[in-house]
Amino acid sequence: MQRIGVFVCHCGSNIAATVDVSKVAEMALMEPGVVHAEDYQYMCSEAGQAKIADAIHEKKLTGIVVCSCSPRMHEATFRKAAERAGLNPYMVEIANIREHCSWIHKDMEEATKKAVILMRAAVAKVNLNTPLQPGESRVTKRALIIGGGIAGIQTALDIADAGYEVDIVEKTPSIGGRMSQLDKTFPTLDCSACILTPKMVEASAHEKIKIYTYSEVENVSGFVGDFTVDIRKKARSVDMDKCTGCGVCQEKCPSKKAPSEFNRGLNNRSAIYTPFAQAIPNVPVIDREACIKFKTGKCGICSKVCQAGAIDYEQKDEIITEKYGAIVVATGFDTINLDKYDEYAYSQSKDVITSLELERVMNAAGPTHGHLERLSDGKAPKEMVFIQCVGSRCSDDRGKPYCSKICCMYTAKHAMLIRDKYPDVNVTVFYIDVRTPGKNFDEFYRRAVEQYGVNYIKGQVGKVIPQPNGKLLVQGSDLLDNRQILKEADMVVLATAIEPNPDVRKIATMLTASIDTNNFLTEAHAKLRPVESPTAGIFLSGVCQGPKDIPETVAQAGAAAVKAIGLLAKDKLMTNPCTAHSDELLCNGCSTCENVCPYGAITYEDKEVNDHGIREVRRLAVVNSALCQGCGACTVACPSGAMDLQGFSNRQIIAEVDAICR
């Protein structure tokens, strides 16, 4: 039998004004196992906690019930107090008589009655509590970053600077990500490459950072502190150690018809290529789909011209298996597919482009060498129309329900840059709302309007119609003047919605990290834990978590790094002891529980058991308590009741039910 102490909190008058607290304490003494009961003004105060400690010592208490505010508020406080007094913290239960009682009831008699019942339920539960010990697991002091864009690079640098090893896995041949494709960045108009390249170099030179480019995460097992990850290093067909990055192979490559991914398909690249001049590593890859040698067996020019002898047609994919303590997802974004937005004539006219394509057009290393020109005929445009919210804030299933957040600012940037460099070009922006919260953001937008004379029209564009003369007829409306607008434009730029990188779903599944309906990774708490995934040991950096611009991405990348460092700094992890456990003698080994476990925490082992004298080998469920998060799905799925949850056992919950229905 337990020796239970019941402590009833007044919470000033928050509880005591509606609940007869001394009556609750008095009634508690009549409950089985209760040997001590008292009420006090503020149980959570130091004096209140001291009362609990004193009673534990004096009355040799084995269990505690605190009738107070929500356990979500002070359960941890009281458990720690009990632990300091030598009691197992899991012998403490809370009866919530504030949020669930005093604050919602007015009648004192009724509220007191209810408080007594809630107290009884908690006492009934504590009577069945058992001391629980958190488990321990080790921490591998290395982090994995999935994605080598600015988010991944920044997180890697911050973790590496703190002294921990970091590996970056990047799918494409170079790190740099979306930011490397941008021309200038708002609101200060620095050249994107000028601020990104030093970081790329720093990451590649950092002694703690290892970069796997042209590589993908293939499999993840394990759990927080102890992940095992298989990384597929795709065959580059170029020996990274021998290549000097001279670039001759790319020049001489006769196959130059593959669309350049880096330039968004606006021009072509060779079959052996580095995506851009500042690529890191500066080692090309052979696109085997485009390479004549791989397609026909003839050619081999690159191999002949390579003085370093780095070309290796025989190279194969390689699987590297590595251990990590923390994993940061930084998979970034892409623009949405515009197939469903045929009204903007994107597929019909080369002069209708996305904003990201415009970045490449305006960039000196881009398909037009930085000259603003129509992609259809190379002519300089005189009239440019920008259409905002293409696929963002969309109420039907063609687009995305969310605001892509960056478009208002980059459109102001584009408009400003064009007006600055080509003052004779008229720029019109059709918008629903202009959203520019952020430091120096609104000022930036106003400069575009006031100083650069960009013509902002509040209204949507219904249709873009390519004209026989090569121009584009834009049909829109001006909501402020309430009139229809017909405008002939030379180029139309679509502020295309961004969406999480499509690969993220596969990665989230491997990590058992949850993902929302828009494919953004879910944070552990929308406000208070924004850079952690609900899955322990998985952190979120950049746009994979939600739309954000570069400064926000970098800030979040740093925050994710700090959370990862906080984990890596520990030698051992204490695991939540409220996990599922299977009773070996009751387990059928039927695999039902395994099917509902969201964490892959249940496996099966053939084990010898001694069932009342019968020794036999049985297939039994085994819960990995480091993986189990204690949801309890398995406990209900289990037909024999072998699976039970510590801290919320079947008998504990039934005892609560019985106490309430008594």
């Binding site: 009773d583 039902t592 099917n595 069932d611 037909p639 008998r651 039934i654 005892a655």
Partner: protein, 324 residues
């Protein structure tokens, strides 16, 4: 029947199997029971006729632990149970040699008695090979007859089909027996007013003597230890004094086998009180089919069971009230 015995002898003789799991004649013409046969000699007691309703799948749980293979005879409907047990890792496929036996519907002695036929001495026409549609029953009061179909178990009237879902070889022809709809009875109850439903079930369940025959025979009730026999859910610890299990036994049992029950009908067949227990299981099956798509437990050994599966668009529990 002789063909089955011959084949069993052959396999025992050549050592392919260590034992045979089949049915042996009981003390009365209509109560054969499941039995192991370890040698050719013992097979003289082997029977297979219309009264061999017993589903032998569940016996394979224990047989899977024995040395060597077991030859087991499974009727078409029994094979669903066997598949389900494979899925739940309760039987070892490698330890079983399955002969799928033909079936022309199984007989219910209570149905014969209900026709006023008492004092039964022998019954002709129950052999699987008999073509006649009529049973000839010798009684102490003289010869009586009864249409085969009128003597069949309820489950055979709504037969799931005569296809063996798993087997190593097949012996004997089957005959279609289905002449009713499986969910008609459930639908009839669903249409009742709450008070009427309650009166119906209370009347049926109050006959229960908690003999556990349904639980013991059920191939889905294959737990090493039943929740009703463990103290996992109750602090009272003594099942027989706990009114909870008294009152809720059949609902809880039905829920525990929901999505796993193949609707083999053994629970109703063995109930000494004649409670139509299959009406609980079949209600779950009907709901699962309607809400989550057709699902037949034991159809295969791989598919996800309805209660360990979900879709985002699943019906809300409030649908129960809305269906009316």
């Amino acid at each position: 029947m002789q063909e089955l015995i011959n084949r069993a002898k052959e396999m025992l003789d050549d050592g392919t199997v260590a034992r045979v799991l089949g049915w042996k004649a009981g003390d009365l013409p209509y109560n054969p029971e499941p039995a192991y046969f370890e040698d050719a000699e013992s097979l003289k007691d082997f029977v297979y006729n219309g009264f061999c309703g017993a589903n032998l799948s569940k016996y394979m749980i224990e047989a899977s632990k024995l040395e060597g293979k077991t030859l087991v005879f499974l009727k078409p409907c029994d094979t669903y149970s066997f598949n389900q047990l494979i899925k739940e890792h309760r039987v070892d496929r490698e330890k079983a040699y399955i002969i799928g036996v033909g079936c022309k519907g199984k007989l219910d002695i209570e149905k014969i008695r209900a026709q006023g036929i008492k004092g039964i001495e022998s019954i002709e026409g129950a052999e699987i090979t008999d073509d006649a549609d009529t049973l000839k029953v010798q009684t102490i009061y003289g010869e009586k007859s009864c249409a085969y179909a009128d003597a069949m178990l309820e489950r055979c009237h709504v037969c799931k089909g005569k296809e063996h879902k798993i087997y190593d070889e097949q012996i004997g022809e089957s005959k279609e027996t289905k002449d009713g709809e499986r969910f008609d009875e459930v639908a009839r109850i669903e249409a009742m007013a709450p008070a009427e439903k309650f009166a119906f079930f209370q009347k049926e369940l109050s006959k229960c003597i908690r003999c556990n025959a349904c639980r013991n025979v059920c191939p889905a009730c294959s737990c090493r230890k039943c929740v009703f026999d463990s103290n996992k859910f109750d602090s009272a610890q003594k099942a027989n004094v706990d009114s909870f299990e008294e009152k809720m036994f059949h609902i809880i049992r039905a829920f525990h086998v929901a999505g796993r029950c193949t609707d083999c009908g053994e629970c109703s067949r063995v109930c000494p009180q004649g409670i139509p227990l299959h009406l609980f299981n079949r209600k779950f099956i009907k709901d699962i089919d309607e809400l989550y798509g057709e699902y037949q437990a034991g159809d295969d050994t791989e598919s996800k069971a309805p209660l360990t599966n979900y879709t985002f668009e699943d019906a809300e529990p409030s649908i129960v009230g809305k269906r009316g």
